[in-house]
Amino acid sequence: MSDENPSPAGPPANSPRSGRDSAPPEPLSLQQPFDRDSLYALRAAVSAHAAAAGLSSQRVYDVVAVAHELAANAVVHGPGHGQLRLWANDGLLYCQVRDSGAASRSAAEKKTVWPSQPGHGLWVVGQVADKVSVDRGDSGTIVTACFATGGRAGRPLHSRSRNTPDRARNANRVPRGPSPASPC
């Protein structure tokens, strides 16, 4: 994925995946290719699966928003298509988007009279997800966002505002900076 503010971040030390091409540790609940014309269907599928994972309606919406922004980034700033995977493991719901990395000129967003703020979608991802990791390599980009489901992991990760250490703090996550242009 080639967002407009590329980050130098390499493979995260605390990635939820053991290796770049390894399969998720538990059976996938969703694996769906997407392009510009299938974002609506992608959101519907993610919503159904996130709800089945036991998340609240707010967190289901948040997972859908994150999935959309990651996919939209691949559509607008990347090759124009990609693959989304969603799975649950150890009290967390993982939402992963991968693309081949090469930006496609034809996929670029049509300019409108209203100015856009590059990187804003990925800033939202960093704000909403409990943990985000970015893995950029020669064969493309993999972004993985995770959300506490309140299952085996115990206390939800998004309660971190209480200033207590939790798994989210140890994660290689997107900075929660005030700038909408914060890169993912």
Partner: protein, 290 residues
């Protein structure tokens, strides 16, 4: 007078016989509220005969800023079901209905009102009512009864439920065709103007691919004066791009001294709060249920 293409509900005048088509209940209530509000403001007698029933009608008008209770108490406003007025059980007679309308016009004059406005939800005609084939004759009769009077009638047809043949058969008897000004509409998204309270309404799911019509709608609202409502009560999804666009537009409106209300479902609200919208003076972020 032939029906013209796209009159705004706020442009209707005395002796208009307008045909309003709507696609969803929210749109019906919005356009009706504007019709009722403007009629009351002009001192006219106003009646709304609806399938919704008096209780819901009063609630929906109140929610949209119409001062319902004082108008009801003063006899200026009446909200009833169609059955009590011009249907007789399960049967309909065009002559009887037009006669009822003429009687109402005379009664409103006797009560001292300078004119009469009646909105009629025509959904009753979708039920197995005998005499429903007289519908075109009813519309023709209304057109004749209203000519040269100070009464206007707004017939409300659900364009999803009435077949095109019926709509076409009654269309010619109306002086105007009324619908919400629409910036964009497909199966997934609708962006249209809202009339009561004034603003825009966005329903369905919206993302960056619909940024162009959203920009057009917002740009028009920015250029207007007065209080503004962005009604997203039926919005199931909005992406970061469109959230940012709306936030920028309403900040501009609030900076110009306009009171702005963003109405959205609880799941959508944090996206606006994250951009600091809730802290802007003059700007209210309210739940869809309020």
């Amino acid at each position: 007078m032939a029906a013209d293409a796209s009159t705004q509900v706020t442009e209707l005048t005395a002796d208009d016989h307008a045909c309003l088509t709507f696609g969803e209940t929210e749109e019906l209530f919005d356009l009706t509220a504007a019709f009722v509000r403007d009629g009351l403001a002009a001192g006219l007698k106003v009646m709304w005969l609806s399938d919704a029933g008096p209780g819901i009608a009063v609630k929906e008008l109140t929610r949209r800023g119409v001062a319902v209770e004082p108008a009801l108490s003063a006899g200026q406003l009446a909200a009833d079901g169609c059955e009590e007025r011009f249907l007789s059980g399960w049967s309909f007679s065009a002559d009887a209905a037009v006669g009822w309308l003429s009687g109402q016009l005379a009664a409103s004059r006797q009560q001292g009102f300078p004119g009469l406005r009646i909105a009629v939800d025509m959904s009753w005609a979708l039920r197995p009512v005998s005499g429903v084939e007289e519908l075109p004759r009813f519309e023709e009769g209304i057109a004749a009864a209203l000519s040269g009077t100070t009464a206007s009638v707004l017939c409300q047809y659900d364009r999803e439920r009435f077949d095109p043949v019926t709509l076409a058969s009654v269309g010619g008897f109306h002086t105007r065709s009324v619908a919400a000004a629409t910036y964009y509409a497909d199966a997934k998204l609708r962006i249209c103007r809202q009339y009561a309270p004034p603003g825009i309404r966005i329903a369905g799911e919206i993302d960056f691919q619909s940024a162009e019509p959203l920009a057009q709608a917002l740009a028009e609202e920015v250029r207007l004066d007065g209080d503004e409502t962005v009604n997203m009560a039926s919005l199931a999804f909005i992406d970061a791009r469109c959230t940012m666009m709306i936030a920028e537009a309403v900040r501009t409106m609030a900076a110009a001294g306009r009171k702005v209300t963003l109405r959205c479902p609880p799941e959508v609200a944090p996206g606006f709060a994250r951009l600091g919208v809730a802290d802007v003076p003059g700007l209210r972020l309210v739940s869809a249920d309020e």
